[in-house]
């Protein structure tokens, strides 16, 4: 049986198609074939606003629910302004219930009015510049573009774009506060590793438009997750340098516009992505391929985390120290060292 492995994309030029979908029904604002910028709105959906429950019986001093409901002058779905009359008693000295804030009548129930306070709709941005390849009515669209693609392994679920600026001269260079200054405003910065919280805080204060790192110390993960700008880790947690292929690709694209999509869902194998649009046509990447001799692979776990290697020989069954047999492959690392690694710990670079 062929041994299939997931791929990890580090591609100088590829054809990207990315699904941008609302989680609930809404309105799609783009059409198929349309050119979009990263900040263009693809679709919007009503976001649940806050609600106010107004008790008509209490406000108007009536006893029965039916009486209260008869006195309500508005219907479900109507928009009201602050001070608009919602319900009133008749007669010379009528009592009046007015809208305390602008909003929409969301429901009327048992003599109560549920008023939805106006809220901003949820807006789904394109995230990257390109062309709308396909529209899914009420849900979203596929945006396609051509360019370089580098996948990461962790992201803080933010997205943004900026000018790619390499602060790391080597793949393992630490990101330090002293190399950060106001000239980096608007940049997406690249560091090798990071273990100083001050570096992240200062980057956010400048503010830079995004941070790309090889790895980050574990105690800094909550801080990185809370930043209001995208942070993407290419290798993982600890002090793991950026792999050589990704480092080279970033280096050769310095000063270009780079788009960070730091959304990430390990349960669905979704990875954060760095996209550098280029004026050339690429081919769609493969998502899973059979392992064969000569392929370039990426190793996931220490002590080889962040290493790139070549497949020398796949093995359908390899005996582990625990006595367990696993499919594995002999890999030649870039320093010519040969190691045998379970396939579970490998991804094919494609």
């Amino acid at each position: 049986m062929p041994m299939m492995l997931p791929t990890h994309h580090i591609l100088p030029l590829t054809h990207l198609r990315r699904l941008r979908m609302l989680t609930e029904k809404g309105r799609v604002l783009v059409r198929s074939g349309q050119t979009v910028e990263a900040t263009d709105i693809i679709a919007e959906a009503p976001a649940p606003g806050q609600h106010l429950l107004l008790d008509v019986r209490k406000a108007l001093g009536v006893q029965r629910v039916t009486d209260a409901e008869r006195l309500i002058e508005r219907r479900v779905g109507e928009q009201v302004e602050k001070g608009d009359i919602l319900a009133q008693t008749r007669g010379l000295f009528s009592r009046i219930l007015r809208a305390p804030v602008p909003g929409r009548i969301a429901a009327i129930y048992k003599g109560q009015i549920l008023l939805e306070v106006a809220s901003q709709p949820y807006r789904l941005l394109a995230g990257l510049p390109g062309r709308v390849a396909e529209v899914f009515p009420e849900r979203g669209a596929i945006v396609e573009t051509h360019g370089a693609l580098i996948q990461g392994v962790w992201g803080n679920r933010q997205s943004n774009n900026g000018v790619l600026t390499m602060l790391a001269e080597t793949p393992d260079a630490p990101l330090k506060p002293e190399v950060l200054d106001l000239t980096l405003r608007g940049s997406v910065i690249v560091g090798g590793i990071c273990y100083q919280p001050e570096a992240l805080k200062m980057a956010a204060e400048i503010p830079v438009r995004g941070i790309i790192l090889g790895s980050l110390s574990a105690p800094l993960l909550p801080l990185a997750a809370s930043l209001n700008l995208p942070v993407i880790l290419l290798e993982g947690v600890g002090q793991i340098p950026i792999n050589r292929l990704a480092f080279q690709l970033l280096n050769t694209n310095q000063k270009r516009d780079v788009y960070l999509l730091a959304t990430w869902n390990p349960r669905l194998s979704e990875k954060p992505e760095i996209v550098i649009p280029l004026p050339a046509d690429g081919k769609a990447p493969e998502e899973a391929v059979e392992i064969t001799v000569g392929q370039t692979v990426r190793l996931a776990l220490p002590p080889y985390a962040g290493n790139i290697g070549k497949v020398i020989q796949p093995h359908t069954s390899w005996l582990q120290r625990s006595g367990q047999r696993l499919p594995a492959a002999e890999i030649e690392l870039e320093n010519t060292q040969r190691v045998t690694v379970p396939l579970f710990n490998l991804e094919i670079i494609a």
Partner: protein, 572 residues
């Protein structure tokens, strides 16, 4: 030939986990049901396939290679068995993969109806994201907003005994009806009503304009009475319904499954209950299914089954486990020096690669230290007050304990993590057999009994863990054991020692315990049998006199030496 074998049928059981998809094939061999072959492949619920069909195809291809039996035609499972012997008669599917259900729990009293509701929800893959009760001081509109923000998959309503409150319950239901009214129809959650049965119809009438609620008998019909099973069964069905929309291919495989696909823990729990029934064990039977995303606990005692799905595990659930355990509780179990930074970074790195396996000794040791802490959390849930007194047996399933470690490493991790007291036999389930059999049980109980008798489970060994107040090094127990061959040996056990008894695997032996100091083997201290039979496991039998809780030396070097010595004692 028994009548069951005349009606013999082959069964294929597939379990979809978040990391692995397992497939087990059962058929009749020499007039008895046997597990013919088992395999596991990586699950394909995520990118790039987003469909379980691919992993099922890979698993079946491997089963075909192992058995030489054709199971598929044009990538489709052949059902039923064909004249040439290819295919299978029945197919059953279980699943643990997928996101946990987001649940809003609504009830009257925090310590009564909501406590029962939590027990129901803990029995499967759920995450309580909001809770509303009479004690809730928020305004009704704030509670409505909270329900909307929670974006639940399910709302569980409990409360009111069958002769109890109706007005307060009606208020809760009104609140929910208002919230449902505000949600787009396609986003409305399922609603499970398990409260005061007297108003079930009223609740249905109130909610039906928005959705059709599931109604089950009151889970707290009386203040002192819990009836969780109907709600648990309905919840299993709801979990399947929701997951079938999330997991690609689940719906199409349910068409050919002989039963509605079930949550794996439910099938696992059914087997634990069955084992308690057939062994008639007064101490109860405990099952632990240590998965990547979830750790399932099934405990059967006195005919009652309790299940809990803890959102911690060795892969997808590792981040949650790390958040819940201080680093020093993990590093204390390391038999070698590793800096806190190394351990913390490695474990958090590992959360990003939940499907990987460590290869170096150092990282294996870190993962086994983490494993002990996860097991300690299991022990806290199983026996929060009185200590882990002698379940007989404890069955353990899941890759990390049954495949990724040696038998000695597994047993020591179980002893260190669970710290059982009394007499306990540890049995490993390396193939996920219990889950498969639990799913098959309603269809073919004969298969279940015969496969269980076929030694497909692995007996690690019986552990006798006496509790003694004696000082370290004091002789507390003399153990004499007679093998079937008539050979007799005896050993003196000192407080603090771990003593293996070399009883050959599969051989019966009689053990005679002679306490030299006061000691306890049961919670009451009224230890009955001081002479009993055990069957030797892979590691024979073991006396664990290290005390409870196990106290490790504060000096790092001494602690590491001791941990190494214990491992060497068990032959690891």
């Amino acid at each position: 030939m028994s009548s069951s074998v005349i009606e013999a049928e082959s069964v294929l059981a597939v379990d979809i986990g978040s990391v692995f998809t397992r497939a087990l094939l059962f058929d009749v061999v020499e007039e008895r049901y046997r597990m013919i072959a088992a395999t596991q492949v990586s699950s394909t619920i995520g990118a790039p396939f987003f469909d379980i069909s691919e992993s099922i195809f890979q698993a079946l291809t491997r089963l075909e290679e192992i058995t030489g039996r054709r199971l598929m035609e044009e990538a489709h499972l052949l059902l039923p068995t064909q004249e040439d012997g290819s295919g299978v008669d029945r197919f059953v599917l279980t699943f643990s993969a997928g996101q946990p259900l987001r649940v809003v729990a609504m009830g009257l009293l925090e310590d009564v109806s909501l406590a029962s509701a939590r027990k129901v929800l803990e029995s499967t893959y759920c995450q309580i994201v909001e809770q509303i009760s009479l004690n809730d001081r928020r305004k009704p509109e704030a509670q409505i907003d909270a329900i909307l923000r929670a974006r639940p998959d399910l709302v569980l309503i409990a409360g009111g005994t069958d002769q109890g409150a109706t007005r307060s319950m009606a208020k809760l239901v009104d609140l929910l009806a208002l919230a449902l009214q505000l949600m787009p129809a396609e986003n409305r959650p399922e609603v499970l009503y398990a409260g005061n049965s007297a108003i079930t119809k009223q609740v249905s009438d109130r909610l039906e304009p928005y959705m059709r609620p599931h109604t089950v008998p009151n889970l707290r019909p009386d203040i002192d009475l819990e009836n969780l099973i109907p709600a648990q069964e309905a919840l299993s069905e709801i979990v399947y319904q929701r997951r079938s929309h999330q997991i690609g291919g689940l719906q199409s495989y349910s068409m050919i499954s002989a039963i509605t696909p079930q949550p794996s823990l439910r099938a696992f729990g059914r087997m634990i209950q069955f084992l308690e029934k057939i062994t008639n064990a007064p101490q109860g039977v405990l099952g632990i299914d240590l998965g990547s995303a979830t750790t399932g606990i099934a405990m059967a005692r006195g005919g009652t089954l309790t299940m809990q799905a803890l959102p911690i595990g060795t892969g997808f659930g590792l981040a949650k486990a790390l958040e819940q355990n201080p680093l020093e509780s993990i590093t204390r179990w390391l038999p070698m020096h590793a800096s806190d930074e190394t351990v913390r970074d490695y474990l958090w790195h590992r959360t990003l690669y939940p499907t990987t396996v460590p290869t170096s000794l150092e990282y294996q040791a870190i993962e086994q230290a983490m494993l002990r802490q996860i097991l300690a959390q299991v022990a806290t849930r199983v026996a929060p007050d009185e200590g882990m007194y002698g379940f007989e047996p404890i069955l353990v399933s899941g890759y990390a304990l049954t495949q990724a470690t040696s038998p000695a490493q597994s047993l020591l991790a179980l002893l260190d993590g669970l710290q059982p007291i009394g007499v306990t036999t540890f049995i490993l389930d390396p193939y996920g057999l219990l889950t498969a059999l639990g799913a098959i049980a309603p269809l073919n109980p004969t298969l279940v009994v015969q496969v269980l008798e076929s030694n497909a489970l692995v007996n690690l060994g019986t552990v006798i863990a006496p509790l003694s107040p004696a000082q370290y090094g004091t002789p507390i127990l003399k153990v004499r054991y007679e093998l079937e061959s008539g050979e007799t040996s005896s050993v003196e056990v000192r407080q603090g020692m771990l003593v293996p008894l070399p009883i050959p695997n599969g051989q019966r032996a009689r053990l005679h315990l002679q306490p030299l100091r006061p000691l306890r083997l049961s919670p009451t201290g009224k230890d009955t049998a001081r002479s009993f039979k055990v069957t030797g496991g892979l590691l024979g039998a073991v006396i664990d006199a290290r005390g409870r809780p196990i106290t490790l030396p504060t000096d790092s070097a001494r602690r590491r030496d001791l941990l190494k010595r214990w491992m060497a004692t068990l032959g690891g």
